[in-house]
Amino acid sequence: MEDVAIVGAGQSVFARSCGESIRELCFEAYKEALEGLDITGNDIDASVVCSAPEYDKQRSPSGLISEYLELTPKPTFYVETVCSSSSTGLRVAWSLIKAGLHKTVAVIGFQKMSELSSRDAAERMGRGGDIIWESPFGITMPAGYAMYARAHMARYGTTEEHLAKVRVKNSHYGVANPKANYRKELSLEDILNSEMITSPLKKFDCCANADGSSCIILAGGDVAKSITKKPIWVVGLGAATDTMSMAGRKSLTGLQCAQEAAKQAYEMAGVKPQDIDVAEVHDCFTVSELLAYEDLGFAKPGEGAGLLEDKETYVEGKIPVNVDGGLLSKGHPIGATGGSQIRTIVRQLRGEATEAQVKDAEIGLVHNIGGVGQYGNVTILRR
């Protein structure tokens, strides 16, 4: 069976408020993804549109986006796993190509969150939990991850300062990313002194809601080689779930869905954690990045903070992570986020990440989580 490659990757600027409609927003990412390719929209055989529907008036957005990008009459599908929607979209696109149904597929992720206040968005996000047994408590994503943080602190002695150091790093790289919303370097004190949101997470421990879009174009091997000089191969795919209810989790010191997805992806790619040259992980909160180090095997359980203390996840370190600033700097437009992470790794593996290029990066990894550890996708790419 033919291998599958990413041939194009684009994203809009992620902003608190984009001032345009979702169709216009999607076009920006699509345009960037097509740049430099020897194809036009006519060569795209199908599209997978990814978002979380609760922020929009529009229902069934895939038909709308497909029309606006002038992809009709090609088929289009809507895929949703909240914050990990667009990496799930990548998995679907990969299967469509592998199955021989389509040769070239576009995965378009988007979210426009600025039409709602943060508290309204939090209410809708909360409905992504168990609507009968947990959502009525008003539990939010920050609160869910705060409980993971407390569990990790109690078990391993992780401190608020350790958490803050994630944002110190990510804010440092955010400065150089023209697509990021927050482009200001933050000091340890700035973060530790920011207002409390949900103990122990403070404002700068949290990602912000944002508007944004992403687009990844995939193609089967022969097509891929004919339309780009730098195809990036999808070599490992892992996907898993955990219980919708937080009460059903085996432990709160790691995300089981990420551990399981990582295992699958490493196995399929035939690589080990130490083979990864650069990674993008789902840092919706500072604690989430520390959990990711451990769930992905970059550090042993409980030793994630040490990796950061030794600056091993900086560009010069053993395993650079989120050197595009992460969700913490870029902002987190739910359905667009996975595609943005993939775009960063594609640019790294092509040697085009001028802002913060990891030297000779050959194998990259994307860790994208939906909800408070409900859906986990791990994807391994290779140049």
């Binding site: 206040s117 943060s118 508290r119 309204d120 939090a122 209410e123 909360g126 409905r127 609507i131 009968i132 047994w133 947990e134 959502s135 009525p136 408590f137 008003g138 539990i139 939010t140 920050p142 609160a143 705060a146 409980m147 407390r150 569990a151 109690a154 207002e195 409390m196 949101i197 949900t198 103990s199 122990p200 997470l201 404002k203 209810s245 937080m246 009460a247 709160l252």
Partner: protein, 162 residues
Amino acid sequence: MPVPGVPILEGLYPSTLDLYPFEAKEFNRIHQFYENLRQKRFTTTKCKKCGNVPFPPRVVCPQCNSEDLEWVDLPTQGKVLRFTEEVAGVPLGFESPLIHALIDLGVGRKLISRVINCKEGQLKEGDTVKLAVYDVPPMIIEKRGGVMEEAPRVFFAFEPVK
């Protein structure tokens, strides 16, 4: 009251925006849970065939597919394993601090719940909390001929044991 910008919502009950469960017997098969809750009982179903006691309650045993289930009581006190006090950014419809906890009910069962009647800074891990039942806005059921009926509802949280 007219709803700004949304004239069609005037006088209507937007059921999908209602955050509390549809507890009335017309809409689910575990309404007995809420009836028991009203009596300050915290209950779930036990399979009479294989003895399985899942929580939340079921209508079919997930282990043996039997439909022969009975209601049994769960403890109404537990210990706080983890908690967080949400002081900013709480969802619309809620006030801060909004306290969430992972509670150990003993008998090998954990659950997530809100902790109410508790001041910010008061709760500690290991504290004992007990079931608290409170009224939430009734559900509106539209009957034949456009008649709107109110179905009263309760929900639960936990509170510190003084």
